[in-house]
C-alpha cells in the first residue's frame, strides 16, 4: 500500500499531458552537479525496531547537563499557559491561512505579536515574523540596500558568526558586499565594535555604505555604544540595524530609543524551547519610513462595513505571490506558531515579569562571574555585560570537554565559533538566566577550579602512581 497521493499511473498521465518523459526532466535546468544523486537510505525496518533504534539514538543526547550555554539561544522558564494555548488546533500551523481575513482570530494573534514586539523594540512596524534571528538580520541588511540604493553594508564582528554567515549567503546571490567592522582588541572597550574603524569604513566614499549592523548585547555578551554607532551611521547617510535579544530589551534601551532604523533578532527566548536549530522566530521591525521595504506579512487593524473592529493583511502588494521576482523577499515566510508563543509568553509575564526575568538573569550572571573568577577563570573583557560573558580558561576546549564528563556544559569554547579571533582562543562564552541556580553556579565553579588546579587530571595520575 502506498501513502503517496499520486499513483504511478497518475504521474505518467500528468507527464504525458505536459509532454515530458520523466519527473527528472523537470529539473533539467539545474546543473547536474547541483542535483542530488538520490538518498542513501537503509533497508526498511519494522516500526517497532525503528522506534527502538530512534530511542537509542535520542538517548545519545545529553539532556542531564547543567547548562551555562547561551551564544544565541537561551534557557528560560516558560509558563505552562504558553504550550497549553499553542496546542489548540486552531493555532497549530506555522502559516497564515489563505483567504486570511476569514481567520480573524489568527490575524488578531499576529496583530498582538506585532504590537507587543513594537513596544519592546520601540519601532513603528513589525513584520509577522521570519525564520530566525539570522535570516531576519540578513533581510534587515537587504532592506538597507534597497532603501539607500547602495550596495555595501558593514557588519560588526560582534554580531553572531552564524548571522554574519547568513548575511554573506544572502548577499552573494544579490552581488552585494558585506564588510566586517573589527572589534577593539584591548583596553576598556575590548570586545566591542571598533568605532574608529567604523568611521574609517564609512568614510570610503567610493563605496558608500547602505547599512551598519551591530548587535546589543553583542555575541561576546558585551553592551555596545549603540547611540554613538547610530550617530556615525546616520552621518554617513546609512541606515542603522540593531540586532537584539528580546528579553534584554526589558532592561536595556530599545532600538527605537537609540535611533536604530531597523531591529532584528531571534525571538526564541520568548517562550520557545531550545531545539537544535529551531524552529525559532525571526523578529524584524523598522521605522514607519521603511514600511514599504519590510519583507513578510503585516497585519493591520481596521473597521468593517458595520464599523466593527476587524483585522486585515495589509501592504500585501510587495509579496512574492503578487510582485514575483521583484518581491521585497523571495526567501521569507513567517513562523506564526512561534510568534504566537512569543505573544502568549509576553502576555503572561507582562512588562514587570519580563523585567524580572532579565534582571534575575543579570544577577545570576554576576554571581557566576565572581564564582568563576575565584576558581581561576577571570573575564576576558572589562566592559559591561548583561547575562553572558567570556572567561579566560587555559586550554579551553579540553577543559570544556572534561567538564561535560562532570555533567557541566560550560558554555561554548569561543575558538569553535570565532576561529579567526586569536585573542579569544582560550575563551569560554558562558551565560546565566533566571533558571540558573546558585547551586549550579557553585558546582560549575568547583568543577572548573578542580580542573584548573590540575586535580581532575591529578587524581588520575595519583591512582597511576599508587600501582
Amino acid at each position: 500500500m502506498t501513502y503517496g497521493p499520486h499513483t504511478a499511473e497518475d504521474r505518467a498521465q500528468m507527464l504525458r499531458a505536459i509532454g515530458v518523459d520523466s519527473v527528472d526532466d523537470l529539473f533539467a535546468d539545474i546543473p547536474a552537479s547541483l542535483r542530488s544523486s538520490g538518498l542513501d537510505l537503509p533497508a526498511p525496518e519494522a516500526e517497532v525496531d525503528l522506534a527502538a533504534r530512534l530511542s537509542e539514538l535520542a538517548a545519545c543526547n545529553r539532556v542531564d547537563l547543567m547548562s551555562f550555554l547561551g551564544a544565541g539561544a537561551y534557557r528560560h522558564f516558560t509558563p505552562p499557559v504558553v504550550d497549553q494555548l499553542l496546542l489548540r488546533s486552531e493555532f497549530y500551523t506555522a502559516y497564515t491561512p489563505y483567504q486570511p481575513e476569514i481567520s480573524q482570530g489568527t490575524l488578531q494573534t499576529i496583530y498582538e505579536y506585532q504590537s507587543l514586539m513594537a513596544e519592546l523594540t520601540g519601532m513603528d512596524v513589525v513584520s509577522a515574523s521570519h525564520y530566525d534571528g539570522a535570516t531576519a538580520t540578513a533581510e534587515a541588511a537587504l532592506m538597507t540596500c534597497r532603501a539607500t540604493h547602495r550596495e555595501r553594508v558593514l557588519v560588526s564582528r560582534g554580531v553572531h558568526p552564524h548571522y554574519r554567515q547568513t548575511i554573506c549567503t544572502y548577499f552573494a546571490g544579490a552581488s552585494l558586499v558585506a564588510d566586517d567592522i573589527p572589534l577593539v582588541a584591548d583596553g576598556p572597550d575590548a570586545g566591542t565594535t571598533d568605532l574608529a574603524a567604523l568611521e574609517r569604513l564609512l568614510a570610503d566614499t567610493d563605496h558608500p555604505v547602505a547599512g551598519v549592523v551591530v548587535a546589543n548585547p553583542n555575541f561576546l555578551g558585551l553592551l555596545e555604544p549603540m547611540a554613538e554607532i547610530g550617530r556615525l551611521t546616520h552621518a554617513a547617510g546609512a541606515l542603522f540595524v540593531s540586532v537584539v535579544e528580546p528579553v534584554s530589551l526589558a532592561v536595556l534601551a530599545s532600538p527605537g530609543e537609540y535611533g536604530a532604523d531597523i531591529a532584528a533578532g531571534d525571538g526564541q527566548p520568548l517562550g520557545i524551547p531550545l531545539a537544535y536549530g529551531g524552529p525559532y522566530l525571526g523578529i524584524l521591525a523598522c521605522r514607519e519610513a521603511l514600511v514599504r521595504g519590510i519583507p513578510g506579512r503585516l497585519v493591520g487593524m481596521t473597521a468593517d462595513i458595520d464599523g466593527k473592529r476587524a483585522f486585515v493583511m495589509t501592504l500585501r502588494a510587495r509579496e512574492q505571490d503578487i510582485r514575483r521576482d521583484k518581491a521585497s523577499s523571495n526567501i521569507c515566510t513567517n513562523q506564526a506558531l512561534c510568534a504566537l508563543a512569543a505573544a502568549i509568553y509576553l502576555g503572561a509575564l507582562g512588562p514587570h515579569g519580563l523585567r524580572d526575568v532579565a534582571a534575575l538573569g543579570a544577577a545570576r550572571a554576576s554571581e557566576l562571574e565572581t564564582a568563576l573568577a575565584a576558581a581561576g577563570a577571570p573575564r576576558i573583557h572589562p566592559g559591561p555585560y548583561l547575562n553572558e560573558f567570556a572567561v579566560r580558561v587555559p586550554d579551553a576546549a579540553a577543559v570544556h570537554s572534561r567538564l561535560i564528563g562532570r555533567g557541566i556544559l560550560a558554555g561554548v569554547p569561543l575558538a569553535r565559533l570565532l576561529p579567526d579571533e586569536p585573542t579569544l582562543a582560550d575563551g569560554l562564552l558562558v551565560c546565566a538566566t533566571e533558571v540558573t541556580t546558585q547551586a549550579e553556579i557553585a558546582a560549575f565553579a568547583a568543577a572548573l577550579g578542580d580542573e584548573l588546579a590540575g586535580s581532575g587530571r591529578g587524581a588520575t595520575k595519583q591512582r597511576g602512581a599508587d600501582r
Partner: protein, 126 residues
C-alpha cells in the same frame, strides 16, 4: 481617447517632449487597470536614468508595478504632491498626476516611442 500631442510607451506611460525636457506620467488606461493607487516611489532628483529601465514604483491596492524611464537622461523634478495625494494618478493622470520631469540626453530616442494612434491601437487590443 488619448491626448494627441503626447508620446507613449508600451508600459502605458505618456511623455510630453518640449525641447530637451520631457514630462512623464502614466496613462488613464494604466491608472484604470491598476485601480486605486496608494503610493508612488519616484527617482531622486539628479539621478541619471536609462530608457526603458525601471526607476520607480507605483503601488495600488492590488498590485505593485514598476515605473520605467521612457528616455535616457537626468531627473530634474518629481511631482512631490503625489507623496501625499497619490490618488491624483487616478483622478487626473494626464494633468496633476504627472510623475517626473527629465532632461533628455538623446532626442533621437523619442522615435522609439509610440504616437497617440499607435498607443490607442495597443490599448484597444488589450
Amino acid at each position: 481617447m488619448v491626448p494627441k500631442d503626447l508620446r507613449y510607451t508600451k508600459e502605458h506611460e505618456w511623455v510630453r517632449v518640449e525641447g530637451d525636457m520631457a514630462t512623464v506620467g502614466i496613462t488613464e488606461f494604466a491608472s484604470e487597470q491598476l485601480g486605486d493607487i496608494v503610493f508612488v516611489e519616484l527617482p531622486e532628483i539628479g539621478r541619471t536614468v536609462t530608457q526603458f529601465a525601471a526607476v520607480g514604483v507605483i503601488e495600488s491596492v492590488k498590485a505593485v508595478s514598476d515605473l520605467f524611464a521612457p528616455l535616457t537622461g537626468e531627473v530634474v523634478e518629481s511631482n512631490s504632491e503625489l507623496s501625499t495625494a497619490p490618488e491624483l494618478l487616478n483622478s487626473d493622470p494626464f494633468g496633476k498626476g504627472w510623475m517626473l520631469r527629465m532632461r533628455v540626453d538623446d532626442a533621437a530616442q523619442v522615435g522609439a516611442l509610440l504616437d497617440a494612434a499607435a498607443y490607442e491601437a495597443l490599448t484597444s487590443e488589450a
